[in-house]
């Protein structure tokens, strides 16, 4: 396999607070390869956004980040702030959740799209404008020559998200990071945006990291999936393997909670309880308090290791890691 574009090794993010240290992200490893889509899923507060923000040097104040992050083989974590800023602007594009607030209301969309080109590629205003028109066309905005001088309030939500994507793609980044990029959009628009990103990815060979809590989105676009819980990776694998044979009780519960088309359910399944606070993580498996299985005596007191259950499919659970149980279930 080719070199990963973005690779995290043992990324850990902690916040010191009056009530003790909060471990928001704990030893996360993953990598995304050119042209691939990696989906990072988890509930709110599972650390999925924090992982990506910290990895790219956008962690909020007071966060202590350790571990190694490689962008195109270079160690991002070892760079100076200025170098990291340049590397980020040059090689990573970001798309945010709410297109209503992620555009500057008093700046034309053209200027916003071309800004990164001017800052990092040293383009002139005229070149930047030409590039903006080109990019707006690329993301499917009709008559981009006219729209380039419009302001964000003159666009609908879906169109604004296209503008945000154009901004993210301005420097032809190797990685596109979409943080809940379709969550604020209605379902039809969401499908259009997903299709757009998939198409662009195919044409430009961009790697995509898609942070989401929507398993439908994951199934539609991802190559690999990382499931996070309590700041840790609890399962990762190819999307087909993970959907066909979820190994962690949490993943199983998540998949079971999805409404099935054509199946009438008066009550949707839920997972009882709430995710643990980062300051009050249980000593053993983070999911233990809510786990419907609790298949091993060690669960409560011992942190399960991440072990491979099938080629490229890892899970952090004693219950599934035990080969006997696995064989029994597959038999």
């Amino acid at each position: 396999m080719s070199e990963p574009v973005l690779a995290l090794e043992g990324l850990t993010v902690t916040f010191g607070s009056a009530r003790g240290t909060a471990r928001v992200v704990d030893g996360v490893d993953w990598a995304v390869h050119p042209g691939q889509t990696l989906a990072v899923v988890g509930e709110s507060g599972s650390g999925k956004s924090m992982t990506v923000l910290s990895a790219t040097g956008l962690a909020p104040r007071g966060a202590k980040v350790t571990g190694t992050v490689r962008l195109l083989g270079e160690e991002l974590t070892a760079m100076s702030d200025a170098d990291r800023r340049r590397a980020r602007g040059r090689h990573i594009g970001f798309v945010y959740q709410d297109p209503m607030t992620s555009l500057n209301p008093v700046m034309t969309v053209g200027r916003q799209v071309s800004e990164a080109c001017e800052e990092h590629l040293g383009m002139s205003k005229q070149e930047g404008r030409k590039r903006a028109v080109e990019l707006l066309g690329l993301v499917g905005i009709p008559s981009p020559e006219e729209r380039v001088d419009n302001y964000p309030h003159q666009f609908s939500g879906g169109m604004r998200q296209r503008v945000v994507i154009a901004m993210a793609l301005a420097n032809e980044p190797e990685v596109l990071i979409a943080d809940e990029a379709t969550t604020a959009l209605d379902v039809t628009t969401q499908a259009q945006i997903l299709e757009l990103v998939a198409g662009l990815q195919e044409r430009l060979g961009t790697a995509v990291v898609w942070i989401t809590h929507d398993l439908g989105v994951v199934a539609g676009i991802a190559d690999r999936v990382v499931v996070m819980y309590g700041g840790r990776i609890i399962e990762q694998g190819k999307v087909d393997d993970l959907f066909a044979d979820p190994a962690h009780p949490y993943t199983q519960a998540l998949l079971a909670a999805r409404p099935q088309p054509g199946v009438r359910a008066d009550r949707l399944l839920t997972i009882a309880g709430t995710p643990p606070l980062p300051t009050e993580l249980p000593p053993g498996c983070a999911f233990w308090p809510r786990c419907p299985v609790r298949g091993d005596a060690r669960c409560e007191h011992e942190e399960p290791p991440l072990v491979e259950v099938a080629p490229g499919h890892e899970v952090r659970s004693f219950y599934r890691a035990d080969p006997a149980v696995t064989e029994e279930r597959s038999a």
Binding site: T56, L58, R85, R86, A87, R88, G89, R90, I92, G93, F94, Y96, Q97, D98, T101, S102, L103, N104, P105, V106, M107, E115, A116, E119, H120, N150, H153, Q154, F155, S156, G157, G158, M159, V164, M167, A168, A170
Partner: protein, 305 residues
């Protein structure tokens, strides 16, 4: 025919019709009669400031010993003063000084205050604390007392008056700016700009500053009123514009001794101060209403209703 009629209900998420911000502000100001009157007074002030000496029927220091203390007449619409000088001409010419002091001192306050507020609000932490506590110290002094103190140190005169008034109003701009910056910098588009690797300076200039323009415009308009008032006060105390150069504050001071016999000496300069300050206030208030983001929604509601 109903076919040709645009049907709002079926239009879906059509882009909002293009109404430029400037057009909207202007339309709203036009509906506001007092603001219109205020703008008119300010226009007169600007014309007087620009062309005063050309429009004045008499020279500002044209002494006429035969016509001392003349009441308002056809020849001297505002009367003459204790040296027989035409009050109308002097009020007209003094408009330039008032305007100049107002603009320059508010310009100083705007430049320094906005820079301090921007840096403090953007970087927060220690920088913010140091800068804003300095501003608090300045702010704690009574306005006029501080101005008088500065004039006492630097010596009296036009330039000193401008600097003193500028320094006095700097903390106000710093505070307004900082408060606005604090809220704007939390917006996602600022985070987005950070993630594209834009430099701090670029983010402040291109993303933050344009988004806090509304409160700054309002503050500028209101401050111009107070700056002109402060200049009048300083001149009244003899610390501002030095005679024989005319200034409204000084003329008011000179007329103070003759209120019984020659009321026109004090009335007209006073009226000029009153009208100009009122006009800046009304326009500032109107701008505040118009530029308030909540007003936008009201306007939109009216349009769709």
């Amino acid at each position: 025919m109903s076919v040709t009629e645009p049907n709002a209900e079926h239009a879906g998420p059509a882009p909002t019709p293009h109404v430029s911000e400037r057009g909207r502000v202007w339309a709203a100001l036009r509906r506001n009669k007092p603001a219109l009157a205020g703008l008119f007074i300010l226009a007169v002030l600007v014309v007087a400031g620009a062309l005063g000496p050309l429009l004045a029927p008499y020279g500002i220091n044209e002494v006429d010993a035969d016509h001392l203390f003349q009441g308002p007449s056809r020849d001297h619409p505002f009367g003459t003063d204790d040296a027989g000088r035409d009050v109308f001409s002097r009020v007209l010419v003094a408009a330039r000084v008032s305007l100049l002091v107002g603009l320059v001192s508010v310009g100083i306050a705007l430049l320094v205050g906005v820079t301090i507020g921007l840096v403090a609000g953007y970087y927060r932490g220690v920088v913010d604390n140091v800068l804003m506590r300095c501003m608090d110290v300045l702010f704690a002094f009574p306005v006029l007392l501080l101005a008088v103190a500065i004039v006492a140190v630097l010596g009296r005169g036009l330039v000193t008056a401008m600097v003193a008034i500028g320094v006095v109003y700097t903390p106000i701009f710093a505070r307004v700016t900082r408060a606005s910056v604090l809220s704007v910098r939390e917006q996602v588009f600022v985070t987005a700009a950070v993630s594209t690797g834009a430099s701090d300076w670029r983010i402040m200039r291109r993303h933050v500053l344009p988004n806090i323009a509304a409160p700054l415009i309002v503050q500028t308009s209101l401050s111009l009123a107070f700056a002109i008032l402060s200049e009048a006060a300083l001149s009244f105390l003899g610390l501002g514009i030095q005679p024989p150069q005319p200034s409204w504050g000084r003329m008011l001071y000179d007329g103070r001794g003759y209120v019984q016999d020659a009321w026109w000496m004090g009335l007209f300069p006073g009226l000029a101060i009153f009208l100009v300050v009122l006009a800046f206030n009304i326009v500032g208030d109107a701008l505040r209403d118009v530029l308030d983001p909540r007003q936008l929604t009201k306007d939109e509601a009216r349009r769709t209703a």
